[in-house]
C-alpha cells in the first residue's frame, strides 16, 4: 500500500486541526477491534513501503493525517483498493471492510503515539545494552549473532512501531505469538526436551531444542507433551532505566534488514 502523489502545502495549524477532527471522528466511527484488524492488515500489506510508523514515503505520514491525495476516509479506502495510477501506489486485494479497518488503524496511530511519548534514544548505546546488560542475545538474534530460540529481530524495525517496541520491553504480553511458542516433552524413558515449537501434527512434533538442535519426535514415544505457558520474555520495567529503554527502542527501530515477518 502507498498513498502518495504530489505534495499539498497546508499550513501546519490547519493540519493539526484536521488531525484533531479526524481523531474525534475516529472515536465515533471505529472500534478498537477494527483498529486491531487494521493493524494486522497494515503490517501485512503496507509497511514494506510506508514503514511501521506510516511515514516512510516522503511527504506522507499516514498516522498523522498527512496525505498527498486523500482528504477523507472514503478516499483512503478507494486509494487502498484501486491504487494511484503512474505512482508507486498499487491496487490492493482488500475488501471495503478491510480497507476501512486499515483506516481505523491509521486513525489510532496518532492517539497511541501521543499517549506513549518516547524520549529520544541513542542507537549505539542501545546496541550496547542489547548485547550487554540487557542480555537480549541469550534469546534473540540480530544479523546472524545470538540465540535462535526467540524471534530473530534483524528486521524488527521494519515491522513494529517504536511505541510497540517500548511496550514489548516494559509490558511484554503474557503469551507469546503462536510461532514463538515453547513446548516441553518427556519421552517414555524420562528424558525432558524443551524448545521452540516449529511444527506439529497428530503424530509428530518438530522443535528447536535448548541446544539449538532440530528435533523431530513421535508423539507415541512421549509420556508428556505440553505448551510452556509463561512467556520467556522478561519485563525491563525495573531492570533498565528509562533512558536505557529509550536507547534500546532506538536500536531496535534501526534494525531494518529485509526478513520475513
Amino acid at each position: 500500500m502507498g498513498i502518495a502523489m504530489r505534495p499539498i502545502r497546508i499550513p501546519v495549524v490547519i493540519v493539526f486541526l484536521l488531525a484533531a477532527a479526524s481523531s474525534l471522528l475516529a472515536q465515533q466511527q471505529y472500534t478498537p477491534v477494527e483498529a486491531e484488524i487494521g493493524r494486522q492488515l497494515f503490517t501485512n500489506n503496507c509497511v514494506s513501503c510506508h514503514g511501521p510508523e506510516g511515514d516512510a514515503v516522503q511527504g506522507v505520514d499516514l498516522g498523522h493525517g498527512h496525505f498527498r491525495v486523500a482528504s477523507s476516509d472514503s478516499d483512503l479506502v478507494r486509494i487502498m483498493r484501486n491504487g494511484i495510477p503512474a505512482t508507486g501506489m498499487p491496487a490492493n486485494n482488500l475488501s471495503q471492510e478491510q480497507a476501512k479497518a486499515i483506516v481505523a488503524y491509521l486513525r489510532s496511530i496518532a492517539a497511541s503515539a501521543a499517549s506513549n511519548a518516547i524520549p529520544a534514544g541513542d542507537v549505539s548505546r542501545g546496541k550496547a545494552i542489547f548485547e550487554g546488560k540487557g542480555e537480549c542475545l541469550s534469546c534473540h538474534r540480530v544479523a546472524g549473532v545470538g540465540s535462535r530460540l526467540g524471534p530473530d529481530l534483524s528486521g524488527i524495525g521494519r515491522l513494529r512501531r517504536s511505541v510497540e517496541l517500548q511496550s514489548a520491553l516494559l509490558e511484554p504480553p503474557a503469551e507469546v505469538r503462536p510461532n514463538n511458542r515453547f513446548i516441553r516433552a518427556v519421552t517414555q524413558n524420562g528424558t525432558t526436551i524443551t524448545g521452540r515449537l516449529l511444527n506439529q501434527d497428530t503424530f509428530t512434533v518438530q522443535l528447536l531444542d535448548s541446544k539449538e538442535q532440530l528435533v523431530s519426535l513421535s508423539k507415541s514415544n512421549l509420556r508428556e507433551f505440553s505448551f510452556v505457558t509463561n512467556s520467556p520474555m522478561p519485563s525491563y520495567q525495573d531492570k533498565l532505566a528509562s533512558q536505557d529503554v529509550a536507547d534500546l527502542v532506538s536500536y531496535l527501530a534501526s534494525l531494518k534488514a529485509q526478513v520475513n515477518p
Binding site: V33, E34, I37, K100, A101, P173, L197, F203
Partner: protein, 546 residues
C-alpha cells in the same frame, strides 16, 4: 449378479465401455467397481460396497500411481475434485477447469480438454472445481466463469458450452453437476458478492435451460416477506455443492448458502428464506416441494452448503426415509425427506450462538451472541462445525461420519458495507484479530483449546457421538466408508489415512505431502480395488501391495 459378471467380463476382455444411462446412476450401488456421480450414488452416502481392502490388510495399501495436475496457475489453487470412474476410465478436473481422462489402473492420460475461464471470473475462495457429471457418453463441467460445458467422454471435444450467469457480477460455478434423467442440474456460487443464488436444470443433449429455482424469492412469491423492504435483491444464498436425489420421490435436495452481507444483517431483517436452508425440488419442474431452514437470519456465514445424505432407517420402530445433515452451524439434524419434518437435532461440536433447537428444529438463540462492532466470540467459528467436506453414512455400522472442527470459535466483527456489483459484500469479518495465526504457511502451532479437527461418528438415531478421531489441525477432507468397515479421510496435516469405521482406530496412514481438500472415492478394475484422493496438486491412487 448375472449383470455384474457380464460387466466384469466385458472390462476384462478389453476396453468396452458402456454408456452411463440414468438407470445405471440410479443403481450405482450395484456396480461398485465404478463411481458414477459426485457422491458415489444419488443418496450421497459416499459408501462403497467394495470389500477387497479390509481392516486387516489395509496396512498393505500403497500408491499405484500419482497424477500431477498441470494447472499453470497460482500455487494456492486447490485440487478439490472427486473423480468419476466409468468402466476403467477415470475422469477428473484439474484446477481450474481442465477435464482429464486417465486409465484408472495406470494413471496414463487418454486426453485432456483445456478450458480457459474468462478473466472476469472471480470465485471467492479459490479457482476450484469439485468434479464432473456424466450421462451417456457426455461429461458435464461447470466452470468458474459460470459456464456449463458438455464434453465428449471418448474424444475430449466440447459438444456445447453455455453461459449460465455473469462472472463479472461474482457468479461462479464450482460444484460437480448432478444428472437426473435427461437433465443436468447446477447451482451458482458467489454469495460473497451479493449475487442472487439459483439452481437450474439444462437439457443434457442441447444445454437448453429447462427450469430455474431462485433461492431468494422476489416480491409476489411465497417467502419474499422474510426479507425486509427491498433487501432480497443482492443477498447471495448461493449453491456451490452437489445435491442428492430420491428416485422414488423424484425429489432433488440441495443445501443453500448464507445471506449477504455475511456478518451484518441490519439491512435484511427477517428469516431470509431460503438462505441457510435445504430445499427439496421436483426434479422435473424445479418446483419447491418443501424447505427446512437451519439458520434463520444467518449472520455467521453458516452456509447450509453440505451434502444432503439420504438414508432409509428404522426410525422409532418404523421404516422412514430420512435425510442426515451435519450443518455448518454446529447442529446435526435428521429430517424426514418426504416432508421436511424435523425429527432430531443435536450439537456435534461446541455451539454458543444457540442454546438448542425447539420442537420444530428452529434454533433457540442466545441473547447477545451476534456479530458486533466490538467483536463477539462465537462457537462454532465462521468455517463452521463442518463445511462442504463430504460426510459418509455406513448402513453397516449405522453411523454417520462427520469431518468436524471442534473447540473452534472466531471473533465476529460487524462492519458497514455497500453493495457494489462484482465486489465483496461481507459486512465484517468472521476471523477477528488474532495474536498471530495458529497455523501459518503450513506450520501448525495450534493448542487444542484453539480448535482441532476430528472425524466424529454420530448415531443418527440419538445424535450421540460414538467415537472420534482427533487431529491436531483442522480438516477440509471428505470421508469415504466401505462395506468392509473402513473409513478413509485426510486433513490439513497432509496425511491420508484409514480408520476402523466401527471404533475409530487408526489402521494405516500415508503422507501425501499437502492438505487433502477433497473427498476420497474407490473403484475396482479387473478385481483390484483402488482408493483415490486428490491432495495438493496431485491425485493419488492406492491399492494393496501385490
Amino acid at each position: 449378479m448375472i449383470r455384474r459378471t457380464l460387466v466384469l467380463i466385458l472390462i476384462a476382455a478389453g476396453s468396452l465401455q458402456a454408456q452411463v444411462s440414468f438407470d445405471r446412476i440410479v443403481r450405482a450401488d450395484q456396480e461398485s467397481q465404478n463411481w458414477l456421480t459426485y457422491s458415489g450414488t444419488f443418496f450421497s452416502q459416499r459408501h462403497s460396497q467394495l470389500t477387497q481392502i479390509t481392516p486387516t490388510n489395509v496396512k498393505d495399501l500403497e500408491p499405484q500411481w500419482i497424477f500431477q495436475a498441470r494447472t499453470g496457475e497460482a500455487s494456492n489453487t486447490k485440487f478439490e475434485a472427486t473423480a468419476l470412474v466409468v468402466d476403467g476410465v477415470l475422469y477428473t478436473v484439474q484446477p481450474p477447469n481442465d477435464i482429464v481422462a486417465l486409465d484408472a489402473a495406470t494413471g496414463r492420460q487418454f486426453w485432456i480438454y483445456s478450458y480457459t475461464p474468462s478473466p472476469l471470473a472471480r470465485p471467492c475462495c479459490g479457482r476450484v472445481n469439485r468434479g464432473l457429471a456424466m450421462l451417456g457418453d457426455t461429461l458435464f463441467m461447470a466452470t468458474i466463469d459460470a459456464h456449463l460445458i458438455a464434453v465428449d467422454a471418448k474424444g475430449g471435444r466440447p459438444i456445447w458450452n453455455i453461459a449460465v450467469a455473469k462472472p463479472e457480477a461474482g457468479y461462479a460455478l464450482t460444484l460437480a453437476p448432478l444428472v437426473i434423467k435427461d437433465k443436468v442440474i447446477i447451482g451458482t456460487a458467489g454469495g460473497e458478492y451479493g449475487i442472487r443464488g439459483f439452481l437450474a436444470a439444462f437439457e443434457a443433449k442441447t444445454g437448453k435451460e429447462v427450469w430455474r429455482f431462485y433461492t431468494i424469492p422476489k416480491p409476489g412469491e411465497p417467502a419474499n416477506n422474510t426479507w425486509d423492504k427491498d433487501s432480497w435483491e443482492h443477498v447471495g444464498a448461493p449453491v456451490w455443492l452437489t445435491g442428492s436425489y430420491d428416485p422414488d420421490l423424484n425429489l432433488t435436495y440441495w443445501g443453500i448458502g448464507n445471506p449477504g452481507s455475511d456478518y451484518n444483517g441490519d439491512e435484511r431483517g427477517g428469516d431470509n428464506l431460503y438462505s441457510s436452508s435445504v430445499v427439496a425440488l421436483d426434479a422435473d419442474t424445479g418446483k419447491l416441494k418443501w424447505y427446512f431452514q437451519f439458520t434463520p437470519h444467518d449472520e455467521f456465514d453458516y452456509d447450509s452448503v453440505q451434502i444432503p445424505v439420504l438414508a432409509d432407517l428404522d426410525w422409532q420402530g418404523s421404516p422412514r426415509k430420512v435425510m442426515l445433515w451435519a450443518n455448518r452451524n454446529g447442529f446435526f439434524y435428521v429430517l424426514d425427506r418426504t416432508t421436511g419434518k424435523f425429527l432430531l437435532g443435536k450439537p456435534f461440536v461446541d455451539v454458543s450462538w444457540a442454546s438448542g433447537l425447539d420442537q420444530n428444529g428452529r434454533p433457540i438463540r442466545v441473547h447477545g451472541k451476534v456479530p458486533s462492532r466490538e467483536g463477539t466470540l462465537i462457537y462454532p467459528g465462521n468455517q463452521g462445525g463442518t463445511n462442504w467436506y463430504s460426510p459418509s453414512y455406513s448402513p453397516r455400522t449405522g453411523l454417520f461420519y462427520i469431518p468436524s472442527w471442534a473447540n473452534y470459535s472466531t471473533l465476529y466483527v460487524k462492519q458497514d458495507v455497500d453493495y457494489v456489483e462484482g465486489l465483496r459484500f461481507g459486512g465484517g469479518t468472521g476471523n477477528g484479530p488474532k495474536a498471530g495465526a495458529v497455523v501459518a504457511g503450513g506450520f501448525n502451532y495450534r493448542k487444542e483449546e484453539e480448535g482441532f479437527g476430528a472425524v466424529r461418528a454420530i448415531d443418527p438415531r440419538t445424535g450421540d457421538m460414538k467415537w472420534q478421531f482427533k487431529m491436531s489441525d483442522v480438516t477440509d477432507a471428505g470421508i469415504l466408508t466401505t462395506a468392509s468397515d473402513l473409513l478413509f479421510t485426510g486433513g490439513r496435516e497432509a496425511y491420508f489415512f484409514a480408520l476402523d469405521a466401527r471404533n475409530g482406530n487408526l489402521l494405516w496412514k500415508f503422507t501425501v505431502g499437502a492438505p487433502v481438500v477433497s473427498g476420497p472415492m474407490t473403484y475396482s478394475i479387473n478385481g483390484k480395488q483402488y482408493v483415490a484422493v486428490a491432495a495438493g496438486s496431485s491425485l493419488f491412487a492406492f491399492a494393496l501391495r501385490q
